[in-house]
Subunit: 645 residues, 2 copies
């Protein structure tokens, strides 16, 4: 159910979901309300008047009984349960024309083959691991062919299955299983990537078990590991769970993990840690889904090249050393239990292939999930993080690269930076006349710090209101106490300590902005470099796909304003969410993806920025917000001129 909320005196409306908080609705509408605590009614500043309709909550000691009776509520504590007309008390004369209206609701990607019905319709719903039920003739003296031969011959004759093989471990069990099931059995077959490859029978169960056939998809992030259980009959996600990658105590980023892996036992330890994390998740999601371990036929895993090598216990040392060589980009299917994954012996593990040391299986999974390789449209695929991976192309060709952006997008190198967990400032607005802030935190808790997407919005809003210039320097002349110098460093105070969880003023500093600019410069510079290498320009891009946890939360307009993303129509930008997990999911449902992925990996040209001379120029040019060359950002340029006039 959705409601319409109209904000007066600006006469701006927004559609919101049932129970949405009123302050988030205001932020979405681009309406500024002074609100500097993050929610929970702490500061009491976000007073609004409900003129029509009703909200739940919003009552606070900060409001007098009289005000309450008039209809005043605290926006941060009010849940929307009807259409509303809300008046913002005018504390200063801001022209409505100066409001920044948001890009609108974030939309999720249209993902090819993301649901089973589409796959079924296209005849593509054929998982890499399938079950077939057989009613065999019992053995007699007249027909006493070997047990394995009986199965293979039947599959050949009745199911047109060829090039079948079976491993020793299963052959050991076949005779007893056949007799347990009175020669009625279900076989599990792993499909080959190449059409003329071998079909390996990996399991045989007595009787008909086709309706108990499940897959697991796992995204192994440097920070977080996500797993989900899929029903291979329906394509449904039955359970999912994310956990911190417990390698994290040996280093936050891939480089420090590699350095640790180079120590004695380091590789074994990191391998075991990620396996432990995966097993922990498996335990939870298998229980939640109500299935048995032995009913899982396949597990697809994707991670960056370092995560993949650590998962497989492959020395990642050469990844970090010039000339940055991964051990392999493709891996054969294997039995998950071989690397310690706590699944049945017959469960097959499929590893997403990568392209290079810094464009790994997680990116390829996302690219496959997004379907870029099937479209005509020139698409820019970006996974923004400490290491930003970028791919450009369409069904004819594809190029990729990775840029080291530094940790700013994940809250690192930022004085009050933090992950996007409860209390992190994730959205921000500023009164262009009083320079008072409005903040929204994850979970509506008192503020603790600033997460990556919050940082970008902060920078954009500060730039738009002239609080900072294009190089991230504060305007020292605005006369607000929030802009100040502490220990020789200029900063803007977002939340005063009494409204925080940390009992310190939360501020954004010039060094923070420097880090952010370098991070976004690295990314934008990489995009320009890639485009130049293939003889195209930024204007040729027809579509942008943003992947990754960060990509899912970043405010599009802010990202364009600071020059992180190329200027493009909002409706040409797609948020993919966790592309890596999505790719694993789709791979679990259709073997066609495995065939395609080999093609994609082979057609992908990888550029190492370190050995691409033009990169340094493009990087330097991008160290301004939005860019040295404002021709790349005509709309931002126009808006900034209008706002600053």
């Amino acid at each position: 159910m959705t409601y319409s909320v109209k904000f007066l005196p600006y006469n701006v409306s927004v559609e919101v979901d049932d129970k949405e908080s009123l302050i988030r609705a205001a932020m979405d509408a681009g309406v500024h309300i002074n609100a500097s605590c993050g929610g929970g009614g702490v500061c009491g500043k976000c007073r609004v008047l409900i003129e029509e309709g009703m909200v739940e909550g919003g009552i606070s000691e900060h409001l007098s009984r009289e005000d309450q009776e008039k209809g005043y509520r605290l926006a941060c504590m009010s849940e929307i349960v009807s259409d509303l007309v809300v008046r913002i008390p005018v504390e200063s004369e801001i022209e409505t024309s100066r409001l920044n209206v948001h890009a609108g609701n974030r939309h999720t990607a249209k993902i090819m083959y993301s649901n089973i019905d589409e796959l079924r319709k296209d005849g593509m719903f054929a998982p890499p691991v399938e079950k077939i039920y057989l009613e065999l003739d019992s053995a007699t003296v007249e027909d006493n062919q070997a047990d394995v031969a009986r199965i293979i011959n039947y599959l050949r004759l009745k199911h047109d299955e060829h090039r079948l093989t079976m491993g020793l471990a299963l052959i050991r069990k076949v005779s007893d299983i056949l007799r347990e099931g009175d020669f009625k059995v279900t076989v599990t077959i792993v499909r080959p990537v190449r059409k003329d490859g071998q079909n390996e029978i990996v399991n045989i169960e007595p009787f008909d078990t086709r309706d108990r056939n499940f897959a697991i998809a796992v995204d192994i992030g440097t920070t977080t590991v996500f797993g989900q259980v899929l029903d291979l009959q329906t394509g449904e996600v039955l359970a999912q769970q994310g956990e911190f990658n417990s390698q994290i105590s040996y280093g936050e980023d891939v480089i420090s993990r590699i350095i640790f892996a180079e120590k004695a036992d380091g590789l074994d330890i990191l391998h075991q840690r990620v396996i432990d994390t995966i097993n922990k998740i498996l335990g939870m999601i298998i229980k939640k889904a109500g299935i048995g371990k032995h009913e899982v036929t396949t597990i697809t895993l994707a991670g960056n090249s370092t995560m993949t090598q650590l998962l497989l216990k492959i020395n990642p040392s050469y990844i970090r050393r010039d000339p940055y060589v991964p051990a392999s980009i493709m891996y054969p299917p294997f039995h998950a239990s071989e690397i310690g994954i706590d699944l049945a012996d017959h469960t097959i593990a499929l590893i997403f292939p990568g392209v290079s040391s810094y464009v790994g299986g997680d990116i390829i999974a996302g690219i496959m999930a997004s379907g870029i390789y099937r479209t005509d449209k020139l698409t820019l695929y970006m996974d923004i993080g400490t290491n930003a991976e970028i791919a450009i192309g369409h069904k004819e060709w594809m190029v990729c690269t990775a840029a080291s952006a530094g940790p700013a997008f994940e809250g690192g190198g930022v004085k009050f930076g933090m992950r996007a967990i409860k209390g992190a400032i994730e959205d921000f607005s500023i009164n262009p006349e009083t320079y008072e802030p409005m903040i929204i935190t994850v979970g509506n808790k008192k503020a603790k710090g600033i997460c990556g997407s919050g940082l970008i919005t902060l920078a954009a809003k500060l730039l738009e209101t002239g609080v900072i210039d294009s190089r991230g320097r504060f305007n020292r002349t605005l006369g607000t106490p929030r802009i100040r110098q502490t220990d020789d460093i200029w900063e803007y105070v977002i939340v005063y300590k009494e409204n925080t969880q940390i009992d310190r003023d939360i501020a954004i500093t010039e060094p923070d902005l420097d880090n952010l600019i370098r991070a976004k410069g690295a990314m934008y510079g990489a995009v320009l470099t890639l485009l130049e290498e293939i003889g195209l320009t930024i204007n040729d891009l027809e579509r942008i796909i943003l992947a990754g946890g960060f990509g899912s939360y970043v405010d599009l307009e802010s990202a364009i304003t600071i020059g992180l993303l190329p200027e493009i129509e909002p409706d040409k930008v797609t948020y993919l969410g966790n592309g890596s997990l999505l790719g694993c999911k789709i791979n679990s449902l259709t073997n066609a993806l495995r065939r395609d992925v080999a093609k994609v990996v082979n057609m992908m040209t990888n550029f190492e920025l370190a050995s691409t001379p033009s990169y340094m120029d493009h990087y330097m040019g991008a160290l301004f917000m939005p860019h040295t060359n404002l021709d790349y950002f005509p709309k931002v340029k126009a808006r900034l001129e209008r706002l600053h006039k």
Copy 2:
């Protein structure tokens, strides 16, 4: 060097090798010399006069100085070192016309592709596991493809190698090996059976190791395991060794092994025992050959279906139970170390496929080695033993069966039966007038017992001289003390106790002959049954191939005389020796055999005698020597009539 030896007064000559013993030369010439101790000058009866030429040895206390000076020697102690004319002292008037002349020297099989030069000439010398040397470009930032991809791409471009895969265990080592060898490495590739199958890279070594490439062939007999080391550059056998299968303490035959395997831990124990035996042999032959374990790229193993399943730790229970179903007839290649074979992790084990529970990989190996499947000639292939396996066919089709002959051929169920080890009576002649024996033992030692091939010759000679009738009953009226009744059982004393190692008279009894007749009846009956099932007769056979240790030693004419083998010209019979080991050897040298063997196994029709009604009639008809129907044996019939007239 060979010499000619002429025996007087019979005027019979024979060609013998240098240092052959004179008594064996006489036996080969069909000349009877009373000699009942087995050799070593014990009984002193084999006095002969050297009329021309010279021998070494032969002097004994049994000869007076005067006799020695005249030229008398003991035949059993004389080694032939020149052409000879030897006179046998006439102790009785035997007409030379009544002498049985042997079939002549035993000939070895002409084996297809038994040596590397023939294979090379035909372009077939391409082992299932090959080494290729690569000089790769070192990685640079401009060319930093993944290490595995670098190898695979190079093989694709420079060696036209396709469909390459590599397992996880090797991928883990690739990066370090590449750098250790400065990007000069030797890869080991396992070839597929199907031409369009996958080529698996199983090992990578720094630098050029092509000249260190060895294979191992292993025949796993129920009784004995043989192994040999092959140089894959030259095809030479570098070392070989046989050892008793140490499963033997859990039962002599396959049925008792299966029964043991059905007990708790029984399968594990038998599996471990045969692995221990194999590892013991490997230790010896690898040392003898002067190679390293890691230089062995492949090990090919063949055994009967029970031996194969015990080797692979597969419950053999259903093999012995109606309807006699083996778990599988084909097995995939795997890493030898997986089943505990003490070779490097990269060494690939190839298992010879079988056809049924009682026609196993050992027989198929022999059939492949013999090349039957390539010829036009209708061939009977027999592996004679406790379980006799029989195949008939040529390049167009093939049928097979197995007959349970009982242990008589291996010395079981025979009062003084023993294996063909030192002291076993292996050859026998009888004076047709005095009924005094001439025996030859393995190793020319004092007699201990009778081995299978000796038993057949004994029975044939006793039949020819009328000592027994066609049902194996002794003629009670011959007046020799050697034919006597002991404990109600009639027997013929071959060696009196003073000339034995066992201080007991060694005799052959009527129950012994009964067992022999049943054993040969089972085999011959099986041959007739197979022929009848395919609409042919015994006269259609154009060639016989005898395999197995027993087949290599049996005297052809004796075997025909008792009706064990069909009557056929001696030059149409080929002795293959250990066909199983030979098949493994050839399989190590050419991958073509693996492609062919799949075809052969698929074209082979197996008959279970238990479910073939005509078998019982054929068996009953064969319970006479040579047979109820003497038309099957026209020459034997004629000879017996002549001898008995």
